[in-house]
């Protein structure tokens, strides 16, 4: 059930109507049932994995809290983490590992017949696994109390707005909201509407319209492409993946706001970042903070020597890349970003948010830094989107060796301008306001105009083919 489908909105209208009529406990039961229906819509067999993961982590956290001995606490933590990673590894990486192992053995002359399983990847497994793992780790670290109510905990894991593509929620922010009766303070409808409207604009009008522009480059025979077409196709993918993923997060946030439950912000105008570090503070914030808190800091963070810090950065970004999927292109993408973070690290103090410094950067310097960062990020997207590392190399080479403007490159650029420039202009305004909800606080006629623009774009400029959200595969 996709957020950009009519069936989801029919489903949500029914859920919302019942939700408003029920008491707190009834609301939680409703959320549980609705979330299982929402998730089972893809494939009912996935529900068993979800339920198993929920029960395991619920019990693990209780055992960890109840046990006084540190060793036993650690044992329960390891058990929980291993089973969670086992699920993830089996569903996500089994095929990749057997394929790569067979290839490696074949390269040294050993013909191995490894068991091949056609494993269907449960949608969003990486998201809810990370959700529940963070909960068990927080309980182990003493940063959170184990939840005794199985219903509350189950809703925390499977809460449908964020379950399949995030934002990844920490137990400290989401569990108390589920445990407590919901209170509508006023403003939920306006804020929720804003998030939903922006999310639909990003996903339906922008991402899905730019998807074929990007695909036409990445699925084409490179022999027929010019460097300009590759560059513009990469720009199209950069906008597509941003609007696709942040659009999903935004709709999730809006829908959840209507249910009086706050989800964390997952994107903060990432293409206005002035450095790779700044980019990761704005892009997929719930994952980057998860990796920082549970991986980078666990590895030692920046507490050791300079080289240990670099190692930790590289390892974190390598694993962050691998989290996206079993493919060398994702690994290369993560490693590339790790390298960028290491290269920029010496300048980190100087590049910390320029606007917040005593003397803000001059406009030209800021624009230059944004342009450089955007192009570095695009180089990463080339790796990320390519079908293979050799294709990524071929396409990157074309940008340098065969760069000439073609009518198709001009067409693609104009498509990007038509669909994405109004959004980027709006985000530039929000960036200047330093308030993500600036539009919600604007005058009625300003919002009316802005929402009318979105309505017109959705009505008249919807895509030929609706696409699934890219991040579902992760």
């Amino acid at each position: 059930m996709l957020f950009n489908s009519y069936v989801f909105w029919a489903f949500f209208v029914i859920v919302f109507a019942l939700y408003r009529a029920l008491p707190h406990r009834g609301q939680n039961w409703l959320l549980l049932v609705a979330s299982y229906v929402f998730y089972g819509w893809w494939d009912w067999r996935f529900l068993f994995v979800l339920a198993a993961s929920t029960l395991l982590d619920y019990a693990s956290a209780l055992w960890i809290e109840k046990t006084a001995a540190q060793r036993r606490k650690k044992l329960f933590l390891i058990l929980s983490v291993c089973v969670n990673l086992g699920f993830l590894g089996f569903f996500k990486y089994y095929g990749f590992l057997t394929r790569e192992l067979a290839a490696a053995l074949a390269s040294v002359g050993i013909s191995a017949s490894l068991p091949v399983l056609n494993v269907i990847l449960p949608v969003g497994i990486s998201f809810y696994t990370f959700n529940s793992m963070s909960y068990v780790i927080d309980v182990y670290r003493g940063q959170a109390r184990a939840e005794r109510d199985l219903l509350t905990y189950s809703v925390y894991v499977c809460y449908f707005p964020h379950m399949v593509a995030g934002p990844i929620q920490r137990c400290k922010t989401l569990l108390p909201q589920i445990a407590r009766p919901r209170v509508y303070k006023g403003g939920e409808f306006a804020e929720g509407l804003y998030h939903v409207v922006i999310g639909l604009l990003k996903k339906v009008a922008i991402a899905d319209n730019l998807a074929p522009v990007a695909n036409a480059v990445f699925l084409a025979d490179p022999g027929g492409l010019s460097g300009a077409e590759v560059l513009v196709g990469t720009y199209a993918f950069a906008i597509q993946i941003y609007c696709d993923f942040s659009g999903y997060s935004s709709i999730a946030q809006g829908v959840s706001k209507w249910l009086a439950i706050d989800l964390t912000t997952n994107f903060r105008m990432p293409y206005f970042a002035v450095s790779p570090g700044d980019f990761w503070r704005r892009w997929h914030i719930s994952l980057s903070t998860w990796l920082r808190d549970y991986l980078y800091i666990s590895l030692g963070g920046n507490r050791g020597s300079k080289w240990q810090t670099y190692r930790n950065l590289m390892l974190t970004m390598f694993l962050g890349g691998l989290w996206h999927g079993a493919n060398w292109t994702f690994v290369a993408w993560g490693t590339f970003h790790g390298l960028l973070l290491c290269l920029y690290r010496p300048f980190q103090r100087r590049e910390a948010d320029p606007a917040s410094q005593p003397q803000p950067w001059p406009a030209w310097k800021r624009i230059l830094a944004i342009a450089v960062t955007f192009h570095l990020v695009c180089a990463g997207w080339l790796l990320f989107r390519a079908e293979s590392l050799s294709q990524a190399w071929t396409l990157a080479t074309l940008v340098v060796t065969r760069f000439h403007l073609t009518p198709y490159a001009v067409f693609s650029l104009a498509m990007i301008a038509f669909y994405a420039v109004p959004l980027l202009a709006f985000e530039a305004w929000v960036e200047r306001q330093k308030d993500m909800l600036s539009l919600v606080r604007a005058r009625v006629w300003v919002r009316g105009f802005a929402y009318s623009y979105v309505a017109v774009m959705l009505l008249y400029f919807g895509p030929e083919v609706a696409h699934e959200f890219i991040y579902f595969q992760f």
């Binding site: 489908s5 009519y6 069936v7 029919a10 509508y184 303070k185 006023g186 403003g187 939920e188 409808f189 306006a190 509407l193 074929p212 522009v213 695909n215 036409a216 699925l219 084409a220 009518p407 198709y408 001009v410 067409f411 693609s412 104009a414 498509m415 038509f418 009625v444 006629w445 919002r447 009316g448 105009f449 929402y451 009318s452 309505a455 017109v456 009505l459 008249y460 400029f461 919807g462 030929e464 083919v465 609706a466």
Partner: protein
Amino acid sequence: MSSSTSSFRQEAKVLAIVAAVLLAGEFAVRGLETRLSRDMLHIRSLPDVATRVAGCRDLRVLFVSSSKVRTDIAPAVVKDVMTDLGAKPLEIERVFPDDTSVIEWYYYLKHYFVDAHCEPDILIVCFADTALQDDRAVHPERLGAYGTGADDIPEVFRDDIGDFGQRTEFLLSKVSCAFANRRRIRSRLLDSLIPGYRGGADRLNAAIRSTGAVAADQQYRVMTKLIDLTRKEDMATLLVAMPTQHGYAIDGRLLSALRSRGVPFLDLRQVDGIGDGQFRDSLHLTEEGATVFSKKLATELMSNYPAIFKKTSPRGSHL
């Protein structure tokens, strides 16, 4: 008054502005509907076509297909050649909504001709490539707005549109002209705003569209339904395979289905005098190509099916 109520009232005003803008768009599209495209003009003229068919005393021949019938068949040429070859007096009419396939042809025929009791004597279904396959994409918004009446909804939902989203689009199109024409409006606007839009869009569409492969479980269910409808209404039916630039194969199961129902089939994929130079794009013929093809079609109709077209035969006999 609580802050929640106040907030909701504020947003209600915002939504009222959005509704006003959309309503203005709806009225504008309704007013300009026939100017949106040549195709729209044609669809809006179908009741007149049906009236002409109903009022005609000669042999009534109706060609049904997509835009290929508009570009590839010159009715005057077909009529002249057939008359010269001894055909009885006949009138040719055409139905050619753009980018359609057999599902849409069935409903257009049913809605404008059968339900209005304006059936032709002979229906000639022209097709190319995969247009007769069951798995061809349906345009629910066009079918909803222009191809069906309220009575057709149960049949459409039972047989052809099972997806909840497509059903919603179908129903929305029944009430909103703007919604039904959104793709046309987008194409017109982008064509004027984006440099090289048509060429670029063709390249993108080529990547999206299927490769023309025949699905393994192809049953030709809709085509069979179309033939059964024409049988029931006492129309003679004939299928014609049209030429395309790159050619295409004809599925053996299609031929079996036609044979089992006794429907004549004319294979005109290859026609002498039609080569690459006679195509304006990969699908449509130039004016010169259309003349060549129309002459060939007329000649083949007369030589293969004299029983129906020659002066000596009674009107309305089956092929």
